[in-house]
Symmetry: C2
């Protein structure tokens, strides 16, 4: 009592397998009477074409893969991915595609890539020398990179990371801060150096700080979870020379850090100004609401999916210009405490 296949339907309807296939895929090639009979029998028998067989035969699976550089349980804790998935999902629905989540198998993305039956890949935050990219070229599946440097073979979708970071740093400098801490994103996978997006943001922060002649910033690494943000606060220097403003590379870390700071008795923003990055929906809901750099995440997903679909159709596409970022000033930043006192007295 195994699954009913095309041959079963064919013999039950007294036609060839070809006719059954036509009934589903090229109905106009069949006579009215036969078509109805075949469809009738197929439905009666509960026939559904086997997807893998179909994919093999048609060289197309109707699926795009999303290459996740971290564990699923980690990456979904960050609403960033949800936002991106909304953008990707919109385009997928429009084009009747399903999405396969491809996290590292046994820690290896390459292994996962080769096992995935997909027509194209969206890859998230891969560093350009990642061996996974090599694998993509090798099996000849089109890909679009997100938050990476463009590779010769694949277009990349990015936002103006540096510009946003610069605006954030300039904002706290304008408020009068001098001692600044930067919460750096951790490397995405076991490798030296930062992800491309992290590097660009760091460069943006530094550009503004250097230009203003601010002292060397403190740097602490933290993942994109609130818990990591809280730990980052603990790692910050607490002595006489302590940061009065924190530039975080993610809203999640910023929010966690804010919680830890408040638990430690600091008033936000009076004792510590905090700037996030991303402008996740929840950034507007914290107390105080988070000042942050907005990047158009959903739009980024849409654009990446659109480009990938183009490539899957055989067109060649160039990397688009980076999408814009903008500073959203809310309640988590103010002038540093000392300068307020100075003004007040």
């Amino acid at each position: 009592m195994s699954r009913v296949n095309i041959a079963d339907v064919a013999s039950a309807a007294g036609v060839s397998k070809t006719a059954v296939s036509f009934a589903f895929n090229n109905p106009e090639k069949l006579g009215q009477a036969t078509l109805e009979r075949v469809l009738g029998v197929a439905h009666e028998l509960g026939y559904a074409p086997h997807p893998a067989a179909r994919a093999l035969s048609m060289r197309r699976s109707g699926t795009i893969g999303v290459l996740i550089p971290q564990r699923l349980s980690t990456v979904f804790a960050n609403p960033f991915l949800s936002e991106l998935m909304q953008g990707l999902g919109e385009l997928c629905e429009e084009h009747d595609l399903t999405m396969l989540l491809v996290p590292p198998l046994d820690g290896s993305l390459e292994g996962a890539i080769r096992q995935a039956s997909v027509d194209g890949f969206i890859s998230l935050g891969l560093s350009p020398d990642d061996r996974a990219l090599e694998m993509l070229d090798r099996i000849g599946i089109p890909a679009v990179l997100v938050d990476s440097d463009a590779s010769p073979n694949h277009p990349a979708v990015n936002v103006d990371d540096a510009g946003g970071a610069e605006a954030a740093a300039q904002h706290v400098l304008d408020l009068g801060h001098r001692e600044v801490a930067i919460i750096v994103l951790p490397p995405t996978r076991a490798q030296v150096g930062h992800t491309p997006a992290a590097s660009r943001r760091l460069a943006g922060y530094r550009a503004a700080l250097d230009r203003a002649g601010a002292p060397e910033p403190f740097t602490v690494t933290a993942g994109v979870t609130m818990a990591a943000g809280a730990r980052a606060f603990d790692a910050l220097p607490k002595g006489r020379r302590r940061p009065t403003a924190v530039l975080a590379m993610s809203d999640m870390a910023a929010i966690g850090l804010m919680a830890a700071a408040r638990t430690a008795g600091l008033k936000i923003p009076d004792d510590l100004s905090i700037v996030g990055y991303d402008d996740l929906p929840m950034a507007a809901w914290t107390n105080p609401a988070l000042t942050t750099v907005r990047q158009p995440i959903v739009e980024k997903g849409r654009l990446a999916a659109r480009l990938l679909i183009q490539r899957m159709k055989g067109r060649t596409v160039e990397s688009p210009a980076p999408l814009g970022t903008s500073l959203v000033v809310r309640g988590s930043t103010s002038r540093p405490f000392e300068s307020k006192e100075a003004t007040n007295t």
Copy 2:
């Protein structure tokens, strides 16, 4: 210059296709020397087995499907799914499975189901008479239902929806509220009636209200987005007899409603008490923090995935007992304004 296949490797290494296949899947069946040669040639040529061919031949794709009853762009706006995906993802990683998101194709879940090349399905919030369930039986793929009533063929994972709702309602009653509004979840798909979970929560609210002899509650329908929650506030009666407490079936709607209420000049919780449902991480970060019913979403995902994997191994599994829910009291609920006045004066 198409993709290199197993025959290419075989002839390049001077062996049969079988030998190449063995090299990857049953290395112990090959002599040391041959094994190394084959593997070497394969790597050199950049060979990777075609996933669809593999799936067809082995009758197993290494993928589980997640049946999404709504549009992807909608459903990912709700952090609920992210939480669930964390739980599912954990088990998937443990068992080297990938996850396929299966939203309705052209509005039809059945169509999407038959196209998905997966070894099992997790289905979210389907009503028991949904035609998609029928399709699942027909093609004989094991499935586990989440937030549905158990079907004869598939186990269901649920939480104690009614108990949580009852506790929420009892909480506001204990605080002294009488006029209560309920924000009902909308039907998941085009169909009459509510989703099973929504029905159970509604029953829980009503049980507590009836027992206390409270007047008939106002009911408003709202989807699980903050925008929908805000609209729900507008739909609430504003006159003399207006609700002093709102029981929402989701945190998202509750938070949106809270925002709209505050924009309208109400003080939360003094003028309006609000209770959510889910206890999403962000519920702790709103201002005031949201009183809500906690359900173990990640655990729900883990359990569902665990059961599905069991079923995929051929074991039969029973529906487990509902997971527990509990009320988390935070700052969005208090005694109604009038009764405070009464106490104060």
